[in-house]
Amino acid sequence: MAPLKLYGMVLSPNVVRVATVLNEKGLDFEIVDVDLRTGAHKQPDFLALNPFGQIPALEDGDEVVYESRAINRYIATKYKSSGADLVPTTPSAKMEVWLEVESHHFHPNASPLVFQLLVKPILGSTPDPEVVDKHATQLAKVLDVYEAHLAKNKYLAGDEFTLADANHMAYLLFLSKTPKASLINERPHVKAWWEDIAARPAFKKTIAAIPLPPPPSA
């Protein structure tokens, strides 16, 4: 069977979101570089994979899937019996809720923070303090809800690690490399949950493949 092809940049959090799940499933895949800096994502051969011109896209034989969360659900469903089982056989409404919470509450705040605090310095520019403050304040309120939830639930969907937890890991990783890691560390149940899922062997493999930059100077 041809290995899965994940198109994108190894440093991109949304690519890491998919790599996280591929590794949890123990699947062989190759990352095919699509260098945003050269505009490769807007070239016809990439647009044929993702007409919205964004990374990642996944090629699985004849099948092409894009949007990282759709890719992850596809992998978790198709390869259910391989590696960790991320989607319960009886659909879990609770898992669906927390998949959406990641998409609509966590991500809209975590993503701009990672962009301002990690990506901009790599590109040679400086964080915008107003944008950082706005999203840090909002993410704090969001993580207060997580704190209350994780005080009563080991994982987001309940007793078991699922796709809902896995979808958070890329941005939690990048956030933990910024001064706003305090948002996680100040909340004991969020912190314990993050430390537990980050210790998973498959995630250590995922991290090892990312050429993380050295921490920005304080």
Binding site: P51, F52, E67, Y74, E96, L99, V101, V142, V145, H149
Partner: protein, 218 residues
């Protein structure tokens, strides 16, 4: 079976997202209003249903859910029938396309289109804030690019996930309905396959029925 309960005003976009799914599967439901003026959405009773203090929330016996797309999936699974299989979870390829275009609505289409709805309808009518034309123009520019991709897709298939109606199409109903009540509705005229798809959707009894309750009052 007792009717399921949806909490929030029926006119609200994300409440309507759930209602259109309930209508399509023919489930009995009750809409329980949440009074925003009285800050009912921040009451302890409502926060117990939705810890983010937002609408909709949902109850089916012991099951209490929030996040409109998670609620909708629960409904579409529970009330699935040969006539109404809107998630296609029995077919991996079809389900993957439903997921892709559901994510596209959330992360490409809605971020481009909803600011126009907020600026032209919601802000002036409900918040006494005048339309910010700069935001409108920037959003319309983004929306044109998104609609180009939709036009190419809908030139090949009657619906977004393929030649079958799915959750992906239904997700577009509430915000697009309100967009059509703004001065920019004619934007869709430049994308004939998109326009034809929208008209096909609006001809459905579910959307005609809900549209009548949602129609902005003069």
């Amino acid at each position: 079976m007792a009717p399921v309960k949806v909490f929030g005003p029926a006119m609200s976009t994300n409440v309507a997202r759930v209602l259109v799914c309930l209508e399509e599967v023919g489930a009995e439901y009750e809409v329980v209003n949440i009074d925003f003026q009285a800050k009912e959405h921040k009451s302890p009773e409502h926060l117990a249903r939705n810890p983010f203090g937002q609408i909709p929330a949902f109850q089916d016996g012991d099951v209490v859910l929030f996040e409109s797309r998670a609620i909708s999936k629960y409904v579409l699974r529970k009330f699935k029938s040969p006539k109404a299989d809107l998630l296609r979870e029995g077919n991996l390829k079809e389900a993957a396309m439903v997921d892709v275009w559901t994510e596209v609505e959330a992360h490409q289409y809605n971020p481009a289109l909803s600011p126009v709805v907020y600026e032209c309808l919601i802000n002036p009518a409900m918040r006494g804030i005048p339309t910010d034309q700069v935001v409108v123009e920037e959003s319309l520019e983004k929306l044109r690019k998104v609609l180009e991709v939709y036009e190419a897709r809908l030139a090949k298939h009657a619906y977004l996930a393929g030649d079958f109606l799915s959750f992906a199409d239904l997700n577009h109903f509430p915000y697009t309905f309100y967009f059509m009540a703004t001065p920019h509705a004619s934007l869709f005229d430049s994308y004939p396959h998109v326009k034809a798809w929208w008209e096909r959707l609006m001809a459905r009894p579910s959307m005609k029925k809900l549209g009548a309750t949602m129609a902005p009052k003069p």
